[in-house]
């Protein structure tokens, strides 16, 4: 997916080329963060009275039990936390790509983590799935968390019985997945994989698969991911070949675009669900669309649909 520039340029020219991508990502992330959290602790936004989120809250008593007295509050809190973590990764990414020396690899794990946070937030916060499905998805992620905690050394797990407690939500009629080796039981259907989440948030099966594989390869130091940046001169005699490592502004732009698209989808869904109107964030996304369009070679526009990204 790398699209090397035709020529190598100096640092200043390179920075000038990547600065719009940095600004685009930072603007969208900051606008999302500011809209949700406000300026102070007390200005955190809550669902509007006639929102779908408020309707779900009104119904949450029907889904409460020993597993959680307030399962919809918890789901909303987790979605908010995941969005915040995604925005944190986006802002760090935006800073990294315009550092004095742009990293060759280090911005990729940041983007990957950001994408995962946003993808999971989009899935948990998907509008229109209904309170029952929201509670199921949320409980499944909490069971996954409890499973992770169960891997802690003895004595460090704050609630060793947490998985069992959460699984008592079978009383709501949820069916559990079959117990498989090295897997934990949760509520059927089975939790999507990370790649599934990424495909879903990017609304592009192939793009999601390619982007995620590429990011994972670089994040884990797999040679095929790292070596993609090596440009061996064609006429250099072997056996030892010195190859320069390079990075292209378009590569950074594509990764930046992926983050903005994921945020548009995740946060757009959240805004719709909570009944908010976020003009600053919508404007930031609208400003990003032409930049993304210029990278993919065709116009892209933002029309502010209910999921934040109607026309791409």
């Amino acid at each position: 997916m790398d699209q090397p520039d035709e020529s190598c340029v100096d640092d200043a020219t390179f920075h000038a080329a990547v600065t719009p991508f940095s600004t685009m990502v930072a603007d969208v992330a900051e606008a999302g963060y500011a809209a949700t959290h406000g300026a102070t602790m007390e200005s955190l936004q809550h669902p509007t009275a006639d929102s779908a989120a408020m309707a779900e809250l009104a119904d949450q008593a029907n889904y409460a039990g020993v597993w959680d007295d307030t399962p919809i509050d918890t789901a909303q809190t987790h979605i908010c936390l995941l969005l915040t973590a995604g925005e944190d990764a986006m802002q760090t990414f935006a800073r990294a790509i315009i550092a004095d020396t742009t990293p060759l690899y280090a911005y990729i794990p940041l983007a990957r983590a950001g994408l995962e946070y946003l993808a999971l937030a989009a899935w948990l916060g998907e509008p229109g799935i209904g309170v029952r499905e929201r509670v199921r998805r949320s409980l499944n992620e909490r069971i996954a968390s409890a499973y992770e905690q169960s891997r802690l050394p003895a004595g460090l797990n704050p609630e060793p019985d947490r998985q069992r407690r959460l699984l008592r939500a079978t009383e709501l009629g949820y069916k559990t997945t079959p117990a498989k080796r090295h897997r934990f039981k949760h509520f059927a259907p089975a939790r999507p994989t990370i790649t599934d989440h990424v495909k879903h948030v990017l609304e592009q099966e192939d793009l999601g698969h390619v982007v995620y594989s590429y990011m994972a390869a670089i994040s884990h130091g797999t040679i095929w991911g790292l070596i993609e940046r090596a440009e061996a001169p064609p006429d250099e005699p072997g056996p030892v070949v010195r190859a320069g490592l390079s990075i292209s502004s378009s590569n950074i732009g594509i990764i930046a675009s992926v983050l903005v698209i994921a945020h548009a989808r995740a946060y757009g869904g959240y805004v719709t669900h909570m009944g908010w109107d976020e003009p600053r964030w919508r404007e930031a996304v609208a400003r990003a669309w032409p930049i993304i369009g210029s990278l993919v070679g065709r116009p892209a526009s933002y029309q502010g649909s209910n999921d934040g990204c109607a026309d791409r």
Partner: protein
């Protein structure tokens, strides 16, 4: 505990300044080291290259140099993550969560780099490790979507050449469900590789190394959207809106103590990987020991204060 008020992330970079300054000194050393891309004369790496012919066959034209190249590339990735991480901690505001992602990538790369460049393993093991790395890469490439036919064809070609070259030496390779292995050398699992790279008896005064398994588990949570780690940084407040419907409130806390411990751990792994590479290529870098000793002292002082 040092008084580091919450809500002032700008001060955190100041508190960590002794550590990030010391890490910047290390970065300067590593930058010099990585200009040496081919083993120098009389180095252990050059001795391995001199013995390369014994490991060449119809399928492997330069397996020792290939292993060195992979090791060098991973050293560069390690350096890239370490530099980016140090910058993140030097600049205000420090990220809430995402510096942990960079730390994990850095430790991951350092552990694999160390495995590839480990001193005194002998030429045969070096070749086997290089080819196991190639086998691992081919398996990852096979996961690319079907429509990227190039990736699949290249992966098949790589795997076939590893297998045929190994067979020519009478070495077996791993099955598809095992860790990639050529002959006696299998790519280590992340926690085993971490254990090795964080264990550095050559610096006995270091801060205690963490348990690799726990570290990998914890940092992986940040990389893979793990709410179980995010919530550990939340300090729930009794703000007036806590009873309101919907999102519960809390402050996200980033502590200097926590951050310094992760930074020290990363630097420790990077140091061992860089030292192995330095040994392999035979580079003389002025002030290597003294700069590392200074870093170690700064970390201990800071952790004591915190």
């Amino acid at each position: 505990m040092m008084d580091v008020p919450t809500g002032e992330p700008g001060r955190l970079a100041d508190v960590l300044r002794p550590l990030t300054d010391a890490q910047s000194q290390l970065i300067g050393l590593y930058e010099q080291l990585l200009t040496v891309q081919i083993p120098l004369a009389h180095s252990p790496g050059m001795a391995e290259i001199a013995g390369e012919a014994a490991f060449c066959n119809d399928y492997w034209s330069n397996p020792v140099q290939e292993a060195h190249s992979f090791g060098g590339l991973l050293m560069f990735a390690t350096f890239d993550h370490f530099t980016a991480y140090t910058r993140l901690l030097s600049t205000n505001p420090i990220p809430y969560f995402s510096s942990q992602v960079t730390a994990r990538a850095g430790i991951d790369a350092a552990s694999l780099a160390y495995w590839l460049n480990e001193p005194a393993i002998g030429t045969k093991a070096r070749v086997q490790r290089g080819q196991a790395t190639l086998l691992a890469a081919s398996r990852q490439m096979k996961r690319a979507p079907d429509y990227i036919s190039d990736a699949h064809a290249t992966a098949d070609r790589m795997a076939a050449s590893v297998e045929a070259g190994a067979a020519a030496h009478g070495w077996s390779i791993s099955g598809k469900r095992e860790q990639p292995r050529v002959g006696d050398e299998a790519l280590p699992k992340p926690t085993a590789a971490l254990d090795t790279v964080l264990d550095d008896p050559s610096f006995p005064n270091d801060p205690n190394p963490p348990v690799a398994g726990g570290l990998w588990w914890w940092l992986s949570g940040y990389t893979h959207s793990g709410v179980h780690v995010l919530v550990q940084q939340i300090e729930e407040t009794s703000a007036p809106h806590a009873s309101a419907l919907g999102i519960r409130q809390g402050q996200i806390a980033v502590t200097a103590e926590h951050t310094a411990a992760v930074a020290a751990t990363l630097a420790r792994g990077v140091r061992k990987a860089m030292s192995a590479y330095r040994h392999l290529v035979g580079a003389e870098i002025a002030d290597w020991e003294i700069t590392h000793a200074r870093w170690s002292r700064k970390v201990l002082d800071l952790l004591d204060q915190l």
